[in-house]
């Protein structure tokens, strides 16, 4: 996994609550058996005027000029600013894969759906939860300031505005460590192999029906 420490990035505002993973990456693109290449289809139904299918050359498709990510001032954005319950719906990890492939490393919102936030951490994307009032203020600042950038520092757990205002955010220690160091959590878990084996042996005694022998 790509590590994440700090970032000074252009902010794109997506002013909508309850954005679901079907909107982030529509189902037709889930037929791919790869982890990469989803960026051109991020928010496909909002971003293009035609209907997208897997394998299409997106550079030739008609863009929806009204969609925020198509506006010239937000080209190259690495921070997505949005509203509550971002990433609700399906557990598809294709959603963070698409965000990452597009170039986003940080998503700021008042709340995230649980599985989505988890999937972000596993892919080097930092989901930042800020109070709804602060998010509303950031929306206003982005709208008023072309080229608006934020400085996000994971180590210090803070977001700094161009005016020097600082917002603190919470992040759990384990996810922070993994993200800062780009750690593969399977290797970390495998450090506990003996514990897992001992646990499993105990479980076999306590609930033996959960193991192979009871299968038909």
């Amino acid at each position: 996994m790509q590590a994440f420490c700090k970032l000074n990035g252009l902010v794109a505002p997506l002013d909508r609550s309850n954005i679901d993973t079907d909107a982030i990456i529509p189902k037709q693109f889930l037929k791919s058996i790869k982890r990469t290449g989803f960026g051109p289809n991020l928010f496909d139904e909002w971003r293009y005027l035609d209907h997208g299918e897997i394998g299409m050359d997106c550079s030739k498709r008609p863009l929806n000029p009204a969609f925020v990510l198509n506006q010239p001032r937000y080209q190259g954005a690495q921070i997505l600013l949005t509203r509550e319950n971002f990433g609700c719906g399906s557990s598809r990890e294709h959603a963070p894969w698409a965000l990452l492939d597009f170039g986003f490393r940080v998503v700021i919102a008042p709340s995230f759906a649980d599985i989505f936030a988890n999937n972000c951490f596993k892919n080097g994307i930092l989901p930042v939860v800020l109070p709804a009032e602060d998010v509303a203020r950031l929306f206003a600042e982005v709208a008023a300031t072309p080229g608006y950038r934020l400085h996000v520092d994971l180590e210090k757990q803070q977001v700094t505005t161009p005016g020097g205002e600082v917002f603190r955010f919470a992040v759990d220690a384990f996810s922070k460590k993994c993200l800062l160091q780009g750690l593969d959590d399977i290797s970390l878990t495998l450090e506990h192999v003996d514990e897992i084996k001992a646990f499993e042996a105990r479980r076999k005694l306590e609930e033996p029906w959960l193991f192979g022998s009871s299968r038909r």
Partner: protein, 469 residues
């Protein structure tokens, strides 16, 4: 020892290791695998040169991509075919039991788990699919995970998680005649909102929940994710035990007796603490119909499409306005004046035998209304289909003009051929009415099977309780 909720008990029994900050390794008893979210996980396992931890904990089935029409020719869409073949190959390589596409036991992963007894009380269950919450109806801890976590489970039989908070949703009293578990779950989401359960594991209780069949409880737990919860669960009772008994993967003989004794302890302690408690009055729940593009945008069938102008919060107001535009609806329209053209009876929410019986009871002796262009019944599994056919339900549907299909996810998300066209309006028994969910530009109204059947024969949404059936 202090009193514990059912979630506390299930959690505590599965913690392998816990760090000071509360990050735990949780042991997983059952891992369900389907074709869409697993290929990258198996690939990751291979690339890292890792072994599968425990093959007998895994059960696989293709469901999202499979065609629901004649399967003798195989899958015509090459991408879907590759995905299903990739699952077949991974299961063969790793020695994982798979109910392949032409196996009678094939079906939607969340239908076949309980049906086969692969889902058992007291287990931890994960699947790379958000509706894994369904299985909690049997008193187990079940949640959806992403593909990285699928790989983590394949490699370690554990997931890394922090404990969620406890929430109780109590549906007090009894629902009126003709009110189904789907109406209960939609009413809950309408009340607490799609983020109302975020950060919680929700236990459903109250008399109305206890009265539900185990299948009805699955419908309620299924949509926990639509309320934002990590999982939904319901305490074990005699109905749970009866449901599990004799299923192919359930224990037998001495093991059955031992398991049963243990399962009977799987309830919350009477004085257990919940971080949040929500009460609903069952008697006030009426048949529900969603009008917008989020499951919380739902009203009773005798209500009207709400008016955004009445909403003070500007983000919500704009969301409502966008939903009305997308849905092609005008504020204040009575729900009974909305005319679907397509009916979909299926999905892991409502494609079990009881659902098909409920819909067939309404349809029996009637024909599709003239404005209904297409009506599909997609059983949740091959065995549900077989059972329905043995009861003659297929004939009831076909005589009314419905199509009787092969099992799978189908038009719940339209990864196969079954999808809505732009602006096509559908009464659907599935769980998500998101934009484009059933097909780009498609308009979904979430309802119970009986309500979908009623709309099919009348041509518009109607309170099923007013029909003579």
């Amino acid at each position: 020892m202090s009193a514990k909720t059912l979630y506390d008990k299930l959690w505590d029994r599965h913690v392998v290791h816990c760090d000071d900050d509360g990050t735990c390794l949780l042991y997983i008893d059952r891992h369900l695998v389907h074709e869409v979210t697993s290929p990258q996980a198996f690939e990751g396992l291979r690339l890292a040169g890792r072994q599968l931890w425990r093959s007998d904990a895994n059960i696989a089935v293709p469901d999202h991509n499979v065609p629901t029409t004649d399967r003798r020719e195989g899958i015509s869409d090459p991408l879907s075919r590759i995905q299903v073949e990739t699952l077949d190959a991974n299961c063969t390589d790793y020695g994982i039991t798979e109910f392949a596409m032409n196996d009678i036991r094939q079906g939607i992963v969340h239908i076949i788990g309980p049906e086969q007894g692969v889902t058992l009380p007291g287990m931890t269950i994960v699947c790379g699919d958000s509706h894994t919450s369904t299985h909690g109806a049997l008193g187990c801890l079940a949640f959806g995970i992403g593909t990285s976590e699928v790989e983590h489970v394949l490699a370690t039989q554990c997931i890394i998680q922090k404990k969620a908070r406890n929430m109780l949703v109590s549906v007090d009293g009894q629902v009126g005649h003709g009110i189904t578990s789907k109406d209960i779950t939609l009413a809950i989401i309408g009340k607490i909102g799609t983020a109302g359960g975020t950060g919680y594991v929700v236990e459903y209780g109250g008399d109305a929940i206890r009265t539900l069949s185990v299948e009805g409880r699955m419908t309620v737990c299924n949509m926990s994710i639509e309320a934002g919860a990590r999982a939904g669960l319901i305490a074990v009772d005699a109905k749970t035990i009866d449901y599990v008994k004799g299923r192919p993967y359930a224990p037998r003989g001495d093991l059955w007796d031992k398991a049963k004794t243990f399962w009977q302890t799987l309830q919350s302690d009477p004085d257990a603490h919940y971080d949040r408690v929500v009460h609903l009055d069952a008697a006030s729940i009426r048949p529900q119909v969603s009008w917008g593009t989020s499951p919380e945008m739902v009203v009773a069938v005798d209500g009207c499409v709400p008016d955004p102008a009445m909403e003070p919060d500007h983000v919500k107001r704009e969301g409502m306005q966008a939903a009305l535009t997308y849905m092609g609806l005008v504020a204040n329209t009575p729900i009974t004046e909305i005319y679907p053209e397509t009916i979909f009876i299926g999905s892991c929410t409502n494609a079990r035998i009881e659902d098909l019986r409920a819909a067939a009871a309404v349809v029996k002796g009637h024909k599709l209304a003239a404005n209904i262009k297409r009506a599909l019944v997609v059983p949740g599994s091959g065995l549900v289909k077989q059972q329905a056919e043995s009861e003659g339900l297929d004939k009831v549907f076909k005589q009314a003009g419905f199509e009787w299909r092969e099992p799978g996810c189908s038009m719940c998300l339209g990864m196969n051929e079954d999808r809505l066209s732009p602006q096509e309006r559908c009464a659907s028994t599935s769980n998500r009415n998101f934009e484009g969910r059933q097909g780009q530009g498609g308009r979904t109204h979430l309802v119970s099977p009986a309500m979908a059947a009623a709309a099919a024969i009348v041509g518009h949404f109607v309170d099923v309780r007013t029909l003579e059936v």
